[in-house]
Amino acid sequence: MNVVLVVRSYVQWHIPPAYLRNMVNIQGVKFQYGTNGAAMAFPDFQCEPGGRMLLLGSSGTGKTTLLHLLCGMLRPTSGEVHVAGKHVASASDRDLDVWRGQSLGIVFQQAHFVHSLTVEENLALPHQLTHGHVPTDLPGRMDSMLERLDIAHRSHAFPHELSVGEQQRASIARALLHRPQVVFADEPTSALDDANAHAVMDLLDREAADAALVVVTHDQRIRDRYPNCVTLHRPAP
């Protein structure tokens, strides 16, 4: 009897619940833009630490909406969203801002940059915004990452001086440099040819080896890449 109690309390106190064990965990999430927008329901799914996951869907299926829900840029009308230990639906805006900077790495479909800053300053910006300073070991880590991404020679250039491919790699470097727990990539390959699409995915896989990686895409070329795949469907009219 005592043994059962001990085991139960050990399980209760030492093994965290599923939403904390998983890096991404969504359950019964629904969302609607305004009061007249189409009601969207998203399938439940989980992604473990270091896990890989594809969110597939053609346009209009709410891929980007789901991504924004996962990043806390939108709040679900109902359901639970847990990402990197954060209960996204109930956290304050300020909390979410800091959390995004610390725990998430986001690769956008179109690479956005602060245009007045150089590539290396853009890469250091998340650290500055989150911690108020740039760690002393960052330039070293940045150099070696840019080296691996083959854009080290562009570190002092301004974003608009880079080619689309270079911008994409620079935005991957920025998303990963602070070693986030979860990396979200929104259509990272849509603008690239076959060879480059696979190269970018290899790169993401390699550089985000320790993080959970969630790739949102409609790109059929990479659909077989990961066994974990959730397909989104157009909401019923």
Partner: protein, 395 residues
């Protein structure tokens, strides 16, 4: 790597050089004009007041009272004419008058006036002797500090006087002046004068062997100090029949500055308008930044930036513009003052070279930076309401 918000603000301003330059130029010109006016007004008023220094009345030949003051107190204008020393002395003996300092002049050396007077003139302005001594005998000269410096005069140097107040054509070659003393700088009109006994002035115009008639001796003016306030009303009455008049420096200067006042009021209005335009330009540039950089701002929110971070960044861009613009304005006004001072120095031997910040300029700077911050704080509020999801979808 330094990447603080001030650095980011600076980089953002540099990324839009034309817009930044326009805002800076407008603010610098506005602040510069107001500051230049404050500076010149203060220094001209100071110079006028310093030189009036207890001179209640100026007695001289009839003519424009303002001209009488400008010529005899400030040594800017030409004198109104000469008066008899004996007549002037009668006025000094009036019971309402405490004392009088006679001035006799009409000659110059290299554009600096040679003024025949008594020691009381130097004492009146509290000027100390730096080298040598005060003038005693005819043709001994004690020179003001600025004259000594400009003409590189040292003790024992000699010079001729030239007829007139600026002319160098009619030189009295037969009478030699000797420098016997050099005065300390006093920030007063004495600095730009060559002082000598009145006898030198009378003698210089006599022919060889000629002896002047003491009763016909003339002076240019008498600076009077009153004993009784009624002197201001009484003395003019006693002079009605003569060729003399008295003028009140305080009143004449006041009248003159009032006439300038209209012009300065117009200038001030223009300067204020330019400053208002510069604030509008800062307002518009911050507003435009929020629109054209909304993707950047949304991006910063996804990388750990809070609405407050973005707000402070935009506020700093406006603040930095106001700070640099105001600084440039204050610098510009000093360059303007320096140029103006050189012009005035050449023409009147006056200097306006006090470059220190005036209390009113501190207030001007604080107001300019304050309004500049306000002009960016209002549009920057837009960053607090930024919808990140919506903005990132737009691309």
């Amino acid at each position: 790597m330094k990447l603080g918000s001030t650095y980011q603000a600076w980089r953002n301003l540099r990324a839009k050089p034309l817009q930044t330059a326009l805002s800076l130029a407008l603010l610098a010109f506005g602040v510069g004009m107001v500051s230049l006016m404050l500076l010149t007004e203060k220094q001209v008023n100071d110079a006028f007041e310093r030189n009036i220094k207890d001179i209640d009345l100026v007695l001289g030949a009839k003519g424009s009272p303002l001209q009488l003051i400008l010529a005899n107190v400030y040594h800017i204008d030409a004198p109104t004419g000469n008066i008899l020393l004996s007549e002037a002395q009668k006025v000094v003996r009036h019971p309402y008058i405490e004392s009088g300092i006679p001035l006799a002049y009409g000659d110059n050396h290299e554009g600096y006036r040679i003024v025949g007077t008594e020691h009381s003139y130097a004492e009146h302005y509290g000027v100390e002797v730096a080298q040598g001594k005060l003038w005693e005998a005819p043709f001994e000269a004690t020179v003001g500090s600025k004259v000594a410096q400009a003409l590189e005069l040292t003790l024992g140097d000699t010079f001729y006087s030239a007829h007139g107040l600026t002319d160098q054509t009619d030189i009295h070659k037969d009478k030699v002046f000797t420098v016997v003393g050099i005065l300390e700088p006093s920030q007063s009109v004495v600095d730009q004068l060559i002082l000598t006994p009145m006898q030198s002035i009378w003698d210089v115009h006599l022919k060889e062997g000629e002896v002047g008639d003491p009763s016909a001796r003339e002076i240019t003016a008498m600076l009077l100090k009153k004993r009784n306030p009624l002197a201001v009303l009484t003395i003019p009455n006693t002079l009605r029949e003569s060729n003399m008049q008295v003028a009140l420096p305080a009143i004449e200067v006041n009248r003159m500055t009032q006439q300038f006042g209209l012009g300065t009021a117009a200038l001030r209005a223009i300067a204020m308008l330019i400053m208002a335009l510069s604030f509008a330009s800062i307002f518009i540039s911050v507003l435009d930044n929020i629109r054209s950089r909304r993707h950047e701002l949304a991006l910063m929110r996804t990388m750990g930036g809070t609405p407050r971070t973005l707000y402070l960044l935009l506020l700093q861009e406006g603040g930095l513009l106001s700070l640099v613009g105001t600084g440039m304005g204050l610098l510009l006004s000093r360059m303007g003052l320096w140029t103006l001072s050189n012009l005035v120095e050449q023409q009147f031997h006056y200097e306006l070279a006090e470059m220190a910040l005036l209390p009113s300029e501190w207030m001007l700077a604080a107001a300019a930076i304050g309004v500049g911050l306000l002009a960016s704080a209002v549009p920057a509020r837009g960053s607090l309401r930024l919808d990140i999801s919506q903005t990132l979808r737009e691309s």
